[in-house]
Amino acid sequence: MREFRYERATDLAGAVATLAAAPDGAYLGGGTNLVDLMKLGVATPDVLVDVRELTSTAVEELPGGGLRIGAAVPNADLGADRRVRERYPVLAQALLSGASGQLRNRATTGGNLLQRTRCSYFTDVTKPCNKRAPGSGCGALQGAHRNHAVLGATIDGPDSPVTCIATHPSDMAVAMVALDAVVQVLGPDGERSIPIAGLHRLPGDDPSRDTTLRHGELITAIDLPPLPAGTVSRYRKSRDRASFAFALVSVAVAVALEDGVVADVRLALGGVAHKPWRAAAAEEALRGQPPTEAAVTAAARAELAAATPLPENGFKVPLAQNLLVRTLLDLTGASR
C-alpha cells in the first residue's frame, strides 16, 4: 500500500479545504471499499481525509414529507430505519440485500454511492483497464465479462482507450435512482444539489470517471422526496448465490395506480450499466396504461431494445426484462 498522510478536520469546510489542496488525496468514509482498493494497489491516495465522524449520522424529516439521510449513516442503520422501511420499502430492501452484516455496519450512505466497480480487470493491477489506467485498454471485452454491462457501455475494441463495459455495483443507488433522490454536496466552490440521475455517468470517452463530482466535493446528505400517495415499491435482486453477492441484475420498482391505470412509475435497473440505469423508456411506455402482462412486457422490451450483449453476458437481457415484468405484475396485483 502506498504511504499516506491521515488527516482529520474539525469541520466540513476544513475537510474540503484539506482535500482540495491534495490532488492525489481522497475522503475516507467507512473504508470498506477504499481500504480494500488501497491494499490491491488500485487506489493510491497520498492523503486520506477522514470524514466519517464529520458528516451526519442522522436521518431527518424534510418539510413536505421526505427524508434527509446524513452521508455517514451506516447502510445497516438506514436499512433498519423504521421510516425508510415504511415509506421507502424499495430502499430498505436494496440496502438489506447488499454486502454482509459486518460491511453494512461500517459502510456509509455517501460511500455506498461512490463505491467502485467490482470488474475483475479493474481490481487487478496486472491487467489492462481504461478505468484504472486510462489508455491501457479493456481486458474484459474479450475476457471474462459475464458480470458486465449490456446498456450504455463504450465498446470500441479491446485496445481502444475508451472501451469500458464495467457495471456500477451498488444496490442502494439503484433504489435511490428510482426514488429521484437528490445528493447534497459541499465543495471548494460551495454547496450544490445534484439529482441522483446526474451523479453517476456512463463511461463515454472517459471511463476513469464514475461520477460528475469534482475533486474535493464531498457528499454531505441524500434527500428522498416523498412518493405519490398509494405508491407501492419493491427491490428485486438476482445473483449467483442466495446471499452476500453482487447483483447480476436487479430492479427497483415504485408504482402507483389510479382507476386501474399506471399513474406514476419509477423503474431502475442494477448490474446492467456503468451507472444505476433509470428505465425511462419502460416508464414512458407504461404511464397511463393498465398494467397487463402484455403492457409490462412491451415496456420491458422497449427498455432493453438498446442492449449490446456480449458473448458471456447476453443472459442479462432476458433476465432484466423478466425481473421488470414479474416485479411490476407482483406489485400491481395483475398476476394474481
Partner: protein, 174 residues
C-alpha cells in the same frame, strides 16, 4: 507516516504508534499479540477477522487502526468475561459448530452482533414483513444474517442451531 493512537481491545488499553497503513486486524494481532481475530482473506469477504467495534460487528481487516483510536474493540476472547465462556462459546461447543476452528472467533463475534441487531428489531433481506419492528431469528434468518462468515469446513449445519439455541434463550427466536 506514524500516528500515536490508543486502542482498547478486550478491556486492555494500549497506547501505540502505528503506520497509517496498519489495519485494526494487524494492529491487534502483530502489535498487541491478540490473535483471537483471524486473518482469512484480508479483503472483507470471509468474516474471520470479525470483531465488535463499539458494539457493532465489523471486518477488522478493512478498518484502519488510526480510525479506531479510542474505540472499544471486543474480540471473541473478550466476550469471555472474567474467563467465563460466553453463551455462544458454550453453544458452539455443545453443537459441535466447527471443525478446524479458524473461522470460529469471527463466527462468534458475528453471532453476537446478530443477536444484538435482532434485539433492536433490525430486519434482514429474508424478513417477510419489513414493518414488523421485531425480529424472529428463524433458521433462514440466521443463515442470511451470518452470510458474511465463511467456513471452509462447512460447519454451517451446526452453526445455525448453535446460534438458534442462544437466540431462543435471549428471546429473539420464537
Amino acid at each position: 507516516m506514524d500516528i500515536q493512537i490508543t486502542l482498547r481491545v478486550d478491556g486492555v488499553q494500549a497506547p501505540l504508534s502505528v503506520d497509517t497503513r496498519t489495519t485494526l486486524l494487524d494492529a491487534m494481532r502483530d502489535r498487541l499479540r491478540n490473535t483471537s481475530p483471524k486473518k482469512g482473506c484480508d479483503h472483507g469477504q470471509c468474516g474471520a477477522c470479525t470483531v465488535l467495534l463499539d458494539g457493532r460487528r465489523v471486518n477488522s481487516c478493512l478498518v484502519l487502526a488510526v480510525t479506531a483510536d479510542g474505540a472499544e474493540v471486543t474480540t471473541s476472547d473478550g466476550l469471555a468475561a472474567g474467563g467465563q465462556p460466553h453463551a455462544l462459546h458454550r453453544s458452539f461447543v455443545e453443537y459441535d459448530a466447527y471443525q478446524c476452528g479458524y473461522c470460529t472467533p469471527g463466527q462468534i463475534c458475528s453471532a453476537a452482533g446478530v443477536l444484538a441487531e435482532a434485539a433492536q428489531g433490525w430486519p434482514s433481506t429474508v424478513t417477510e414483513d419489513l414493518t414488523a419492528g421485531t425480529a424472529d431469528l428463524t433458521d433462514a434468518e440466521i443463515r442470511e444474517r451470518m452470510a458474511g462468515n465463511l467456513c471452509r469446513c462447512a460447519a454451517y449445519a451446526h452453526i445455525v442451531p448453535a446460534v438458534a439455541a442462544v437466540a431462543g434463550a435471549q428471546g429473539v427466536r420464537r
